[in-house]
Amino acid sequence: MRNVRASQLIFELSKAGRRAAHLPHCDVPCRDVKELIGDEHRADAPPPLPEVAEPEIVRHFTNLSQLNMSVDTHFYPLGSCTMKHNPKRNERLASLPGIIDVHPCQPDATIQGLLQLLFELQVMLGEISGLPAVSLQPAAGAHGELAALMVAAACFRDRGERRTKVLAPDTAHGTNPASARMAGFDTVTVKSTPAGLVDLDDLRAKLDDQIGVFMITNPNTLGIFDGQVAKIAELVHARGGLIYLDGANMNAILGITRPGDFGADMMHYNPHKTFSGPHGGGGPGAGPICVTAALGEYLPVPVVRRDGDRYSLDFDRPRSIGRVRTFFGNVGVLVRAYCYLLTHGAEGLREASALALLNANYLLSRVRHILPVPQGDRCMHEFVASAAALKKERGVSAMDVAKRLLDYGFHSPTVYFPLTVPEAVMIEPTETESKETLDAFAEALFRITEEPADLLHEAPHTTPVSRPDEVQAARRTILKWTPC
Protein backbone atom coordinates (compact mmCIF):
# COMPACT_ATOMS: atom_id res chain seq x y z
CA MET A 1 0.00 0.00 0.00
CA ARG A 2 2.75 2.42 0.88
CA ASN A 3 3.75 4.84 -1.87
CA VAL A 4 7.50 4.68 -1.49
CA ARG A 5 8.17 7.05 -4.37
CA ALA A 6 6.05 9.88 -3.05
CA SER A 7 7.59 9.63 0.42
CA GLN A 8 11.15 10.10 -0.78
CA LEU A 9 12.68 13.37 0.31
CA ILE A 10 11.02 16.27 -1.46
CA PHE A 11 14.43 17.23 -2.81
CA GLU A 12 14.73 13.89 -4.55
CA LEU A 13 11.43 14.55 -6.32
CA SER A 14 12.62 17.91 -7.60
CA LYS A 15 13.14 18.52 -11.31
CA ALA A 16 14.35 21.83 -12.73
CA GLY A 17 11.52 23.71 -14.37
CA ARG A 18 8.63 22.31 -12.34
CA ARG A 19 6.59 24.57 -10.14
CA ALA A 20 3.37 24.73 -8.14
CA ALA A 21 2.73 28.41 -7.43
CA HIS A 22 1.99 30.84 -10.22
CA LEU A 23 2.06 34.43 -9.07
CA PRO A 24 -0.10 37.13 -10.64
CA HIS A 25 1.38 39.40 -13.27
CA CYS A 26 2.65 42.69 -11.97
CA ASP A 27 -0.14 45.27 -12.20
CA VAL A 28 2.03 48.21 -11.16
CA PRO A 29 4.86 49.55 -13.36
CA CYS A 30 7.14 46.54 -13.82
CA ARG A 31 10.47 48.17 -13.21
CA ASP A 32 13.74 46.31 -13.45
CA VAL A 33 14.60 44.99 -9.99
CA LYS A 34 18.23 45.96 -10.57
CA GLU A 35 17.07 49.54 -10.57
CA LEU A 36 15.26 49.09 -7.25
CA ILE A 37 17.81 47.00 -5.32
CA GLY A 38 21.54 47.40 -5.76
CA ASP A 39 23.95 44.61 -6.69
CA GLU A 40 25.44 44.63 -3.21
CA HIS A 41 22.12 43.36 -1.81
CA ARG A 42 20.63 41.36 -4.66
CA ALA A 43 21.36 37.65 -5.11
CA ASP A 44 22.18 36.45 -8.61
CA ALA A 45 19.83 33.51 -8.33
CA PRO A 46 16.96 32.58 -6.01
CA PRO A 47 17.69 30.09 -3.21
CA PRO A 48 18.04 26.50 -4.44
CA LEU A 49 14.65 25.29 -3.20
CA PRO A 50 13.13 22.12 -4.67
CA GLU A 51 11.08 22.41 -7.85
CA VAL A 52 7.92 20.31 -7.72
CA ALA A 53 4.38 20.40 -9.06
CA GLU A 54 1.30 20.69 -6.86
CA PRO A 55 0.03 17.10 -7.29
CA GLU A 56 3.41 15.85 -6.16
CA ILE A 57 3.40 18.10 -3.08
CA VAL A 58 -0.03 16.82 -2.10
CA ARG A 59 0.93 13.19 -2.54
CA HIS A 60 4.25 13.67 -0.76
CA PHE A 61 2.93 15.28 2.40
CA THR A 62 -0.20 13.12 2.49
CA ASN A 63 1.96 10.00 2.39
CA LEU A 64 4.22 11.41 5.08
CA SER A 65 1.24 12.12 7.31
CA GLN A 66 0.27 8.47 7.05
CA LEU A 67 3.56 7.44 8.64
CA ASN A 68 2.49 9.10 11.91
CA MET A 69 0.46 7.86 14.81
CA SER A 70 -1.83 10.60 16.10
CA VAL A 71 -4.76 11.16 18.44
CA ASP A 72 -7.07 11.17 15.44
CA THR A 73 -5.91 7.69 14.49
CA HIS A 74 -4.68 5.92 17.64
CA PHE A 75 -4.90 5.66 21.42
CA TYR A 76 -2.00 7.84 22.58
CA PRO A 77 -1.49 7.31 26.35
CA LEU A 78 1.69 9.38 26.51
CA GLY A 79 2.05 10.18 30.20
CA SER A 80 2.30 13.83 31.17
CA CYS A 81 1.20 14.97 27.72
CA THR A 82 -2.61 14.66 28.04
CA MET A 83 -3.24 13.45 24.50
CA LYS A 84 -7.00 13.87 24.55
CA HIS A 85 -9.41 14.28 21.67
CA ASN A 86 -8.88 17.46 19.65
CA PRO A 87 -12.36 18.81 18.90
CA LYS A 88 -12.91 19.68 15.27
CA ARG A 89 -15.19 22.59 16.10
CA ASN A 90 -12.26 24.32 17.80
CA GLU A 91 -10.19 24.03 14.64
CA ARG A 92 -12.91 25.59 12.57
CA LEU A 93 -13.69 28.38 15.01
CA ALA A 94 -10.05 29.38 15.47
CA SER A 95 -9.89 29.81 11.69
CA LEU A 96 -12.85 32.17 11.37
CA PRO A 97 -12.25 35.36 9.41
CA GLY A 98 -12.07 38.11 12.00
CA ILE A 99 -9.80 35.91 14.13
CA ILE A 100 -7.28 34.28 11.85
CA ASP A 101 -6.74 37.31 9.60
CA VAL A 102 -6.22 39.91 12.32
CA HIS A 103 -2.89 41.69 12.39
CA PRO A 104 -1.25 41.87 15.85
CA CYS A 105 -0.83 45.64 15.81
CA GLN A 106 -4.32 46.72 14.78
CA PRO A 107 -6.03 49.55 16.67
CA ASP A 108 -8.04 48.29 19.66
CA ALA A 109 -11.23 49.64 18.10
CA THR A 110 -10.90 47.15 15.23
CA ILE A 111 -10.50 44.09 17.45
CA GLN A 112 -13.10 44.46 20.17
CA GLY A 113 -14.47 40.94 19.65
CA LEU A 114 -11.06 39.34 19.93
CA LEU A 115 -10.12 41.39 22.98
CA GLN A 116 -13.42 40.44 24.61
CA LEU A 117 -12.64 36.77 23.98
CA LEU A 118 -9.14 37.09 25.40
CA PHE A 119 -10.38 39.08 28.40
CA GLU A 120 -12.99 36.44 29.17
CA LEU A 121 -10.33 33.77 28.85
CA GLN A 122 -8.15 35.64 31.36
CA VAL A 123 -11.08 35.71 33.78
CA MET A 124 -11.89 32.02 33.31
CA LEU A 125 -8.27 30.93 33.77
CA GLY A 126 -8.08 33.06 36.89
CA GLU A 127 -11.24 31.46 38.28
CA ILE A 128 -10.11 27.89 37.53
CA SER A 129 -6.72 28.44 39.15
CA GLY A 130 -7.84 30.62 42.04
CA LEU A 131 -5.08 33.01 40.98
CA PRO A 132 -6.80 36.05 39.53
CA ALA A 133 -4.03 37.90 37.68
CA VAL A 134 -3.41 36.39 34.26
CA SER A 135 -0.99 36.79 31.36
CA LEU A 136 -1.81 35.02 28.12
CA GLN A 137 1.54 35.90 26.59
CA PRO A 138 3.89 32.92 27.13
CA ALA A 139 4.27 30.68 24.09
CA ALA A 140 4.54 27.33 25.86
CA GLY A 141 4.57 25.76 29.31
CA ALA A 142 8.32 26.13 29.68
CA HIS A 143 8.06 29.73 28.55
CA GLY A 144 5.33 30.31 31.16
CA GLU A 145 7.59 28.87 33.88
CA LEU A 146 10.33 31.24 32.84
CA ALA A 147 7.99 34.25 32.74
CA ALA A 148 6.59 33.41 36.18
CA LEU A 149 10.06 32.96 37.67
CA MET A 150 10.98 36.37 36.27
CA VAL A 151 7.85 37.74 37.96
CA ALA A 152 9.06 36.23 41.23
CA ALA A 153 12.54 37.67 40.74
CA ALA A 154 11.10 41.13 40.05
CA CYS A 155 9.00 40.90 43.19
CA PHE A 156 12.02 39.93 45.34
CA ARG A 157 14.02 42.77 43.83
CA ASP A 158 11.28 45.22 44.72
CA ARG A 159 11.20 43.87 48.24
CA GLY A 160 14.94 44.40 48.39
CA GLU A 161 15.55 40.71 48.96
CA ARG A 162 18.29 38.60 47.49
CA ARG A 163 16.82 35.16 46.91
CA THR A 164 18.92 32.95 44.70
CA LYS A 165 17.43 29.47 44.91
CA VAL A 166 14.70 27.56 43.17
CA LEU A 167 13.78 24.25 44.77
CA ALA A 168 12.14 21.46 42.80
CA PRO A 169 11.46 17.80 43.60
CA ASP A 170 13.51 15.09 41.91
CA THR A 171 10.38 14.07 39.98
CA ALA A 172 10.11 17.49 38.28
CA HIS A 173 10.03 18.02 34.54
CA GLY A 174 13.43 18.96 33.11
CA THR A 175 12.07 22.33 32.08
CA ASN A 176 11.82 23.39 35.76
CA PRO A 177 15.55 23.54 36.48
CA ALA A 178 16.31 24.78 32.98
CA SER A 179 13.81 27.67 33.35
CA ALA A 180 15.12 28.48 36.82
CA ARG A 181 18.60 28.92 35.48
CA MET A 182 17.46 31.19 32.66
CA ALA A 183 15.70 33.36 35.22
CA GLY A 184 18.96 33.68 37.10
CA PHE A 185 18.33 31.22 39.94
CA ASP A 186 20.36 28.25 41.16
CA THR A 187 18.40 25.04 41.48
CA VAL A 188 18.28 22.70 44.43
CA THR A 189 16.68 19.29 44.16
CA VAL A 190 14.39 18.06 46.94
CA LYS A 191 14.05 14.32 47.45
CA SER A 192 10.85 12.36 47.18
CA THR A 193 9.72 9.74 49.67
CA PRO A 194 9.36 6.13 48.48
CA ALA A 195 5.62 6.85 48.17
CA GLY A 196 6.41 9.58 45.65
CA LEU A 197 5.65 12.61 47.81
CA VAL A 198 7.89 15.55 48.64
CA ASP A 199 10.20 14.54 51.49
CA LEU A 200 9.31 17.20 54.04
CA ASP A 201 12.42 16.58 56.12
CA ASP A 202 14.60 17.11 53.11
CA LEU A 203 12.61 20.20 52.21
CA ARG A 204 13.01 21.62 55.72
CA ALA A 205 16.73 20.95 55.58
CA LYS A 206 17.06 22.83 52.31
CA LEU A 207 14.86 25.79 53.20
CA ASP A 208 16.76 28.90 54.12
CA ASP A 209 16.48 32.63 53.56
CA GLN A 210 17.85 32.21 50.05
CA ILE A 211 14.74 30.31 48.93
CA GLY A 212 13.02 32.10 46.08
CA VAL A 213 10.56 29.66 44.64
CA PHE A 214 9.49 26.08 45.24
CA MET A 215 8.29 24.54 41.98
CA ILE A 216 5.82 21.73 42.39
CA THR A 217 3.83 19.66 39.95
CA ASN A 218 0.61 18.56 41.64
CA PRO A 219 -0.62 15.98 40.90
CA ASN A 220 3.05 15.12 40.45
CA THR A 221 4.63 13.24 37.59
CA LEU A 222 3.85 9.95 39.33
CA GLY A 223 0.15 10.76 39.12
CA ILE A 224 -0.13 11.29 42.86
CA PHE A 225 -1.76 14.27 44.47
CA ASP A 226 0.62 15.45 47.14
CA GLY A 227 -1.78 16.16 49.99
CA GLN A 228 1.00 17.87 51.92
CA VAL A 229 0.94 20.73 49.48
CA ALA A 230 -0.70 23.20 51.84
CA LYS A 231 1.89 22.31 54.48
CA ILE A 232 4.68 22.74 51.93
CA ALA A 233 3.30 26.14 51.02
CA GLU A 234 3.19 27.10 54.67
CA LEU A 235 6.85 26.13 55.14
CA VAL A 236 7.98 27.98 52.02
CA HIS A 237 5.88 31.06 52.72
CA ALA A 238 7.23 31.20 56.26
CA ARG A 239 10.67 31.71 54.73
CA GLY A 240 9.37 34.39 52.37
CA GLY A 241 9.47 32.12 49.32
CA LEU A 242 6.81 31.61 46.68
CA ILE A 243 5.12 28.46 45.40
CA TYR A 244 5.02 27.78 41.67
CA LEU A 245 2.65 25.16 40.34
CA ASP A 246 3.68 23.44 37.12
CA GLY A 247 0.24 23.09 35.55
CA ALA A 248 1.14 20.16 33.30
CA ASN A 249 -1.30 17.96 35.22
CA MET A 250 -4.22 20.35 35.60
CA ASN A 251 -6.44 17.91 33.74
CA ALA A 252 -6.77 15.99 37.02
CA ILE A 253 -8.16 18.77 39.18
CA LEU A 254 -10.35 21.16 37.16
CA GLY A 255 -13.16 22.37 39.39
CA ILE A 256 -12.07 19.97 42.14
CA THR A 257 -9.29 21.96 43.75
CA ARG A 258 -7.57 25.18 42.81
CA PRO A 259 -3.85 25.92 42.99
CA GLY A 260 -4.57 29.30 44.55
CA ASP A 261 -6.53 27.54 47.30
CA PHE A 262 -3.76 25.08 48.12
CA GLY A 263 -1.07 27.71 48.48
CA ALA A 264 0.32 28.31 45.00
CA ASP A 265 1.31 31.88 44.17
CA MET A 266 1.97 31.32 40.48
CA MET A 267 1.24 28.68 37.85
CA HIS A 268 1.12 28.03 34.14
CA TYR A 269 -1.43 26.14 32.09
CA ASN A 270 -0.66 23.93 29.12
CA PRO A 271 -3.81 24.58 27.06
CA HIS A 272 -2.51 22.22 24.38
CA LYS A 273 -2.83 19.49 27.02
CA THR A 274 -5.55 20.42 29.46
CA PHE A 275 -7.81 22.31 27.09
CA SER A 276 -7.56 19.88 24.19
CA GLY A 277 -4.74 21.19 22.12
CA PRO A 278 -3.98 20.04 19.52
CA HIS A 279 -0.30 19.25 19.98
CA GLY A 280 0.61 20.01 16.36
CA GLY A 281 3.32 17.36 16.01
CA GLY A 282 5.32 19.10 18.74
CA GLY A 283 3.88 22.57 18.97
CA PRO A 284 2.50 25.14 18.97
CA GLY A 285 1.44 25.20 22.57
CA ALA A 286 0.76 28.13 24.82
CA GLY A 287 1.71 28.80 28.43
CA PRO A 288 -0.62 31.33 30.03
CA ILE A 289 0.31 32.11 33.61
CA CYS A 290 -1.82 33.02 36.61
CA VAL A 291 -0.50 34.70 39.74
CA THR A 292 -1.84 36.16 42.96
CA ALA A 293 -3.33 39.63 42.85
CA ALA A 294 -0.23 40.94 44.63
CA LEU A 295 2.08 39.64 41.92
CA GLY A 296 -0.19 40.80 39.10
CA GLU A 297 1.60 44.08 38.57
CA TYR A 298 4.76 42.22 37.52
CA LEU A 299 3.11 40.21 34.73
CA PRO A 300 4.40 40.65 31.18
CA VAL A 301 2.86 43.35 28.99
CA PRO A 302 0.37 43.66 27.45
CA VAL A 303 -2.67 42.35 29.31
CA VAL A 304 -6.25 42.81 28.19
CA ARG A 305 -8.36 45.14 30.30
CA ARG A 306 -12.02 46.09 30.28
CA ASP A 307 -13.45 49.51 30.97
CA GLY A 308 -17.23 49.31 30.79
CA ASP A 309 -17.94 47.60 27.52
CA ARG A 310 -14.64 48.58 25.92
CA TYR A 311 -11.61 46.35 25.79
CA SER A 312 -8.03 47.45 25.32
CA LEU A 313 -4.46 46.24 25.52
CA ASP A 314 -2.73 47.64 28.58
CA PHE A 315 0.97 48.37 28.04
CA ASP A 316 1.23 50.93 30.82
CA ARG A 317 2.36 48.73 33.67
CA PRO A 318 5.46 50.23 35.24
CA ARG A 319 6.39 47.21 37.36
CA SER A 320 5.94 44.68 34.58
CA ILE A 321 8.87 42.41 33.80
CA GLY A 322 8.33 43.51 30.17
CA ARG A 323 7.71 41.48 27.08
CA VAL A 324 8.60 37.80 26.91
CA ARG A 325 7.76 37.37 23.22
CA THR A 326 6.76 39.29 20.11
CA PHE A 327 3.13 40.44 19.90
CA PHE A 328 0.30 39.28 22.15
CA GLY A 329 0.51 35.51 22.48
CA ASN A 330 -0.32 32.23 20.78
CA VAL A 331 -3.82 33.43 20.10
CA GLY A 332 -4.79 30.52 17.84
CA VAL A 333 -4.15 28.13 20.73
CA LEU A 334 -5.91 30.43 23.20
CA VAL A 335 -9.04 30.64 21.04
CA ARG A 336 -9.22 26.84 21.04
CA ALA A 337 -8.88 26.83 24.84
CA TYR A 338 -11.69 29.38 25.06
CA CYS A 339 -13.90 27.16 22.89
CA TYR A 340 -13.07 24.16 25.06
CA LEU A 341 -14.00 25.99 28.25
CA LEU A 342 -17.27 27.29 26.82
CA THR A 343 -18.13 23.82 25.57
CA HIS A 344 -17.73 22.33 29.03
CA GLY A 345 -18.84 24.94 31.50
CA ALA A 346 -18.17 24.48 35.20
CA GLU A 347 -19.91 21.15 35.57
CA GLY A 348 -18.46 19.75 32.36
CA LEU A 349 -14.90 20.62 33.34
CA ARG A 350 -15.26 18.95 36.71
CA GLU A 351 -16.76 15.93 35.08
CA ALA A 352 -13.97 15.76 32.51
CA SER A 353 -11.41 15.69 35.31
CA ALA A 354 -13.39 13.10 37.29
CA LEU A 355 -13.63 10.88 34.21
CA ALA A 356 -9.91 11.33 33.53
CA LEU A 357 -9.42 9.97 37.05
CA LEU A 358 -11.84 7.13 36.42
CA ASN A 359 -10.13 6.10 33.20
CA ALA A 360 -6.69 6.23 34.78
CA ASN A 361 -7.79 4.27 37.85
CA TYR A 362 -9.62 1.71 35.76
CA LEU A 363 -6.57 1.18 33.58
CA LEU A 364 -4.40 1.07 36.70
CA SER A 365 -6.64 -1.66 38.13
CA ARG A 366 -5.99 -3.74 35.04
CA VAL A 367 -2.33 -2.91 34.45
CA ARG A 368 -1.00 -3.44 37.97
CA HIS A 369 -1.50 -7.19 37.60
CA ILE A 370 0.73 -7.06 34.53
CA LEU A 371 3.35 -4.47 35.45
CA PRO A 372 3.73 -3.44 39.09
CA VAL A 373 2.80 0.13 39.98
CA PRO A 374 5.16 0.99 42.84
CA GLN A 375 3.12 3.94 44.09
CA GLY A 376 -0.02 2.03 44.94
CA ASP A 377 -3.49 1.24 43.74
CA ARG A 378 -4.97 4.74 43.48
CA CYS A 379 -3.88 7.46 41.13
CA MET A 380 -5.07 10.73 39.76
CA HIS A 381 -5.12 11.17 35.97
CA GLU A 382 -2.07 9.03 35.24
CA PHE A 383 0.12 6.41 36.85
CA VAL A 384 3.64 5.06 36.53
CA ALA A 385 4.16 1.32 36.18
CA SER A 386 7.57 -0.29 36.30
CA ALA A 387 9.06 -2.90 34.02
CA ALA A 388 11.96 -3.42 36.45
CA ALA A 389 10.82 -6.91 37.46
CA LEU A 390 10.23 -7.89 33.83
CA LYS A 391 13.70 -6.66 32.98
CA LYS A 392 15.28 -8.61 35.82
CA GLU A 393 13.41 -11.82 35.19
CA ARG A 394 13.27 -11.88 31.40
CA GLY A 395 15.56 -9.14 30.17
CA VAL A 396 12.61 -7.28 28.69
CA SER A 397 12.88 -3.52 29.21
CA ALA A 398 10.33 -0.72 29.37
CA MET A 399 11.58 0.28 25.94
CA ASP A 400 10.88 -3.20 24.54
CA VAL A 401 7.32 -3.05 25.86
CA ALA A 402 6.85 0.47 24.51
CA LYS A 403 8.06 -0.55 21.08
CA ARG A 404 5.93 -3.70 20.95
CA LEU A 405 2.80 -1.73 21.82
CA LEU A 406 3.24 0.07 18.50
CA ASP A 407 2.73 -3.26 16.73
CA TYR A 408 -0.57 -3.65 18.54
CA GLY A 409 -1.70 -0.26 17.25
CA PHE A 410 -1.18 1.77 20.41
CA HIS A 411 1.13 4.71 20.84
CA SER A 412 3.63 4.04 23.62
CA PRO A 413 3.31 5.52 27.07
CA THR A 414 6.10 7.81 28.24
CA VAL A 415 9.03 5.63 29.27
CA TYR A 416 12.04 6.24 31.53
CA PHE A 417 10.37 9.23 33.15
CA PRO A 418 10.12 10.15 35.97
CA LEU A 419 13.73 9.32 36.71
CA THR A 420 12.90 8.08 40.21
CA VAL A 421 11.12 4.93 38.99
CA PRO A 422 13.29 2.25 37.38
CA GLU A 423 12.07 1.18 33.92
CA ALA A 424 9.20 3.64 34.22
CA VAL A 425 6.11 3.30 32.04
CA MET A 426 3.97 6.40 32.50
CA ILE A 427 0.39 5.99 31.32
CA GLU A 428 -2.19 8.76 30.90
CA PRO A 429 -5.34 7.60 29.17
CA THR A 430 -7.34 10.90 29.41
CA GLU A 431 -11.14 11.09 29.71
CA THR A 432 -11.80 10.89 25.98
CA GLU A 433 -11.21 7.14 25.66
CA SER A 434 -13.76 4.37 25.91
CA LYS A 435 -13.72 1.37 28.22
CA GLU A 436 -13.27 -0.84 25.16
CA THR A 437 -10.07 0.99 24.19
CA LEU A 438 -8.70 0.76 27.72
CA ASP A 439 -9.53 -2.96 27.86
CA ALA A 440 -7.85 -3.57 24.53
CA PHE A 441 -4.74 -1.70 25.68
CA ALA A 442 -4.51 -3.71 28.92
CA GLU A 443 -5.04 -6.92 26.95
CA ALA A 444 -2.23 -6.00 24.56
CA LEU A 445 0.07 -5.21 27.47
CA PHE A 446 -0.68 -8.58 29.01
CA ARG A 447 -0.02 -10.45 25.79
CA ILE A 448 3.25 -8.60 25.30
CA THR A 449 4.56 -9.68 28.69
CA GLU A 450 3.95 -13.28 27.65
CA GLU A 451 5.78 -12.98 24.34
CA PRO A 452 9.32 -14.27 23.75
CA ALA A 453 12.01 -11.82 24.80
CA ASP A 454 13.75 -11.99 21.42
CA LEU A 455 10.61 -10.92 19.64
CA LEU A 456 10.30 -7.95 21.98
CA HIS A 457 13.92 -6.86 21.66
CA GLU A 458 13.40 -6.55 17.91
CA ALA A 459 10.03 -4.81 18.14
CA PRO A 460 8.36 -3.04 16.48
CA HIS A 461 7.89 -5.33 13.51
CA THR A 462 5.00 -3.81 11.59
CA THR A 463 5.82 -0.09 11.61
CA PRO A 464 7.15 1.82 8.58
CA VAL A 465 10.68 1.53 10.00
CA SER A 466 12.21 -0.55 12.77
CA ARG A 467 14.29 0.90 15.60
CA PRO A 468 16.58 3.63 14.27
CA ASP A 469 20.28 3.64 15.05
CA GLU A 470 20.41 6.65 17.35
CA VAL A 471 24.12 6.24 18.05
CA GLN A 472 24.97 6.64 14.40
CA ALA A 473 22.59 9.61 14.14
CA ALA A 474 24.42 11.38 16.96
CA ARG A 475 27.96 10.39 15.96
CA ARG A 476 27.80 11.15 12.27
CA THR A 477 25.22 13.89 12.24
CA ILE A 478 23.30 14.35 8.99
CA LEU A 479 20.94 17.23 9.64
CA LYS A 480 20.01 18.21 6.09
CA TRP A 481 19.79 16.74 2.64
CA THR A 482 22.70 17.48 0.35
CA PRO A 483 22.79 16.73 -3.39
CA CYS A 484 25.03 13.75 -4.11
Binding site: E470, V471, A474, R475
Partner: protein, 133 residues
Protein backbone atom coordinates in the same frame (compact mmCIF):
# COMPACT_ATOMS: atom_id res chain seq x y z
CA UNK B 1 50.88 5.01 29.03
CA UNK B 2 51.07 2.39 31.67
CA UNK B 3 49.57 -0.78 32.91
CA UNK B 4 46.26 -0.37 34.76
CA UNK B 5 47.89 -1.90 37.82
CA UNK B 6 50.38 0.98 38.02
CA UNK B 7 47.92 3.86 37.66
CA UNK B 8 46.10 5.98 40.24
CA UNK B 9 42.30 6.36 40.23
CA UNK B 10 39.65 8.85 41.31
CA UNK B 11 36.25 8.00 42.72
CA UNK B 12 34.73 9.53 39.59
CA UNK B 13 36.49 6.97 37.37
CA UNK B 14 39.36 8.99 35.98
CA UNK B 15 42.84 7.41 35.90
CA UNK B 16 46.08 9.29 36.45
CA UNK B 17 49.65 8.52 35.40
CA UNK B 18 52.29 10.85 36.84
CA UNK B 19 55.65 11.32 35.11
CA UNK B 20 58.58 13.68 35.48
CA UNK B 21 58.93 15.89 32.37
CA UNK B 22 61.58 18.63 32.19
CA UNK B 23 61.72 18.94 35.92
CA UNK B 24 57.97 19.22 36.40
CA UNK B 25 55.44 16.60 37.32
CA UNK B 26 52.95 15.98 34.54
CA UNK B 27 49.83 13.87 35.01
CA UNK B 28 48.20 12.12 32.09
CA UNK B 29 44.47 11.73 32.72
CA UNK B 30 42.00 9.34 31.12
CA UNK B 31 38.77 7.52 31.94
CA UNK B 32 38.67 3.92 33.00
CA UNK B 33 37.43 0.95 31.02
CA UNK B 34 34.75 0.41 33.67
CA UNK B 35 33.38 3.93 33.18
CA UNK B 36 33.46 3.66 29.42
CA UNK B 37 31.43 0.49 29.58
CA UNK B 38 28.91 2.05 31.96
CA UNK B 39 28.46 5.07 29.72
CA UNK B 40 27.66 2.89 26.68
CA UNK B 41 27.89 4.07 23.09
CA UNK B 42 29.62 7.38 23.44
CA UNK B 43 28.77 9.87 20.73
CA UNK B 44 30.51 13.08 21.70
CA UNK B 45 33.29 14.44 23.85
CA UNK B 46 34.32 17.95 24.81
CA UNK B 47 37.86 18.54 26.10
CA UNK B 48 39.44 21.72 27.50
CA UNK B 49 41.89 23.95 25.67
CA UNK B 50 45.62 23.78 26.23
CA UNK B 51 46.55 26.40 28.79
CA UNK B 52 43.37 26.15 30.85
CA UNK B 53 43.56 25.54 34.57
CA UNK B 54 41.96 22.54 36.23
CA UNK B 55 41.25 21.93 39.88
CA UNK B 56 40.59 18.73 41.74
CA UNK B 57 36.94 17.81 41.53
CA UNK B 58 36.23 20.54 38.97
CA UNK B 59 34.73 19.75 35.58
CA UNK B 60 37.17 19.88 32.67
CA UNK B 61 35.01 18.45 29.91
CA UNK B 62 32.19 16.05 29.27
CA UNK B 63 31.23 12.93 27.42
CA UNK B 64 27.86 12.17 25.94
CA UNK B 65 26.02 9.05 25.02
CA UNK B 66 22.75 9.27 23.12
CA UNK B 67 20.68 10.04 26.18
CA UNK B 68 23.10 11.04 28.91
CA UNK B 69 25.75 13.61 29.61
CA UNK B 70 28.57 12.90 32.05
CA UNK B 71 30.96 15.55 33.26
CA UNK B 72 34.67 14.73 33.40
CA UNK B 73 36.09 15.64 36.82
CA UNK B 74 39.71 16.55 37.20
CA UNK B 75 41.57 14.32 39.64
CA UNK B 76 44.45 16.83 39.94
CA UNK B 77 45.32 20.54 40.09
CA UNK B 78 47.34 22.30 37.43
CA UNK B 79 47.55 23.58 33.89
CA UNK B 80 46.52 21.61 30.83
CA UNK B 81 49.66 21.24 28.68
CA UNK B 82 48.35 18.79 26.08
CA UNK B 83 44.97 17.58 24.83
CA UNK B 84 44.24 14.45 22.84
CA UNK B 85 42.47 16.48 20.20
CA UNK B 86 41.97 13.59 17.81
CA UNK B 87 40.02 11.58 20.35
CA UNK B 88 36.60 13.29 19.98
CA UNK B 89 36.62 12.29 16.32
CA UNK B 90 37.66 8.73 17.14
CA UNK B 91 35.68 7.81 20.19
CA UNK B 92 36.06 4.12 19.45
CA UNK B 93 39.69 4.54 20.59
CA UNK B 94 38.39 4.97 24.14
CA UNK B 95 36.96 1.48 24.15
CA UNK B 96 39.93 -0.07 22.34
CA UNK B 97 42.77 1.46 24.34
CA UNK B 98 41.47 3.40 27.35
CA UNK B 99 44.84 3.46 29.15
CA UNK B 100 46.92 4.33 26.09
CA UNK B 101 45.69 6.04 22.93
CA UNK B 102 42.48 6.93 24.77
CA UNK B 103 44.16 9.45 27.12
CA UNK B 104 42.35 12.78 27.46
CA UNK B 105 44.65 15.50 28.78
CA UNK B 106 48.09 16.07 30.28
CA UNK B 107 48.25 18.39 33.25
CA UNK B 108 51.36 20.05 34.69
CA UNK B 109 50.74 19.73 38.40
CA UNK B 110 50.68 22.88 40.48
CA UNK B 111 50.14 20.95 43.66
CA UNK B 112 50.67 17.29 44.47
CA UNK B 113 48.38 17.05 47.47
CA UNK B 114 45.45 15.73 45.48
CA UNK B 115 47.51 12.73 44.38
CA UNK B 116 47.42 11.47 47.93
CA UNK B 117 43.64 11.12 47.77
CA UNK B 118 43.67 8.92 44.69
CA UNK B 119 43.19 5.15 44.90
CA UNK B 120 45.50 2.42 43.82
CA UNK B 121 44.37 -0.29 41.42
CA UNK B 122 43.16 -2.68 44.10
CA UNK B 123 41.07 -0.05 45.87
CA UNK B 124 39.58 1.08 42.59
CA UNK B 125 38.71 -2.46 41.59
CA UNK B 126 36.86 -2.87 44.85
CA UNK B 127 34.89 0.34 44.20
CA UNK B 128 33.89 -0.91 40.75
CA UNK B 129 32.79 -4.24 42.17
CA UNK B 130 30.62 -2.41 44.71
CA UNK B 131 29.08 -0.15 42.08
CA UNK B 132 28.27 -3.02 39.78
CA UNK B 133 25.82 -4.37 42.38
Amino acid sequence: MGKPEELLYSETHEWVCVEQVDGAKVATVGITAFAIEQLTDLVYMELPEVGSQVTTGGEFGEVESVKAVSPLYSPVDGEVVAVNSELPDRLETLGQDPYGAGWLVRVRLSDEQSLAKLMNFAAYQKQCADEAH
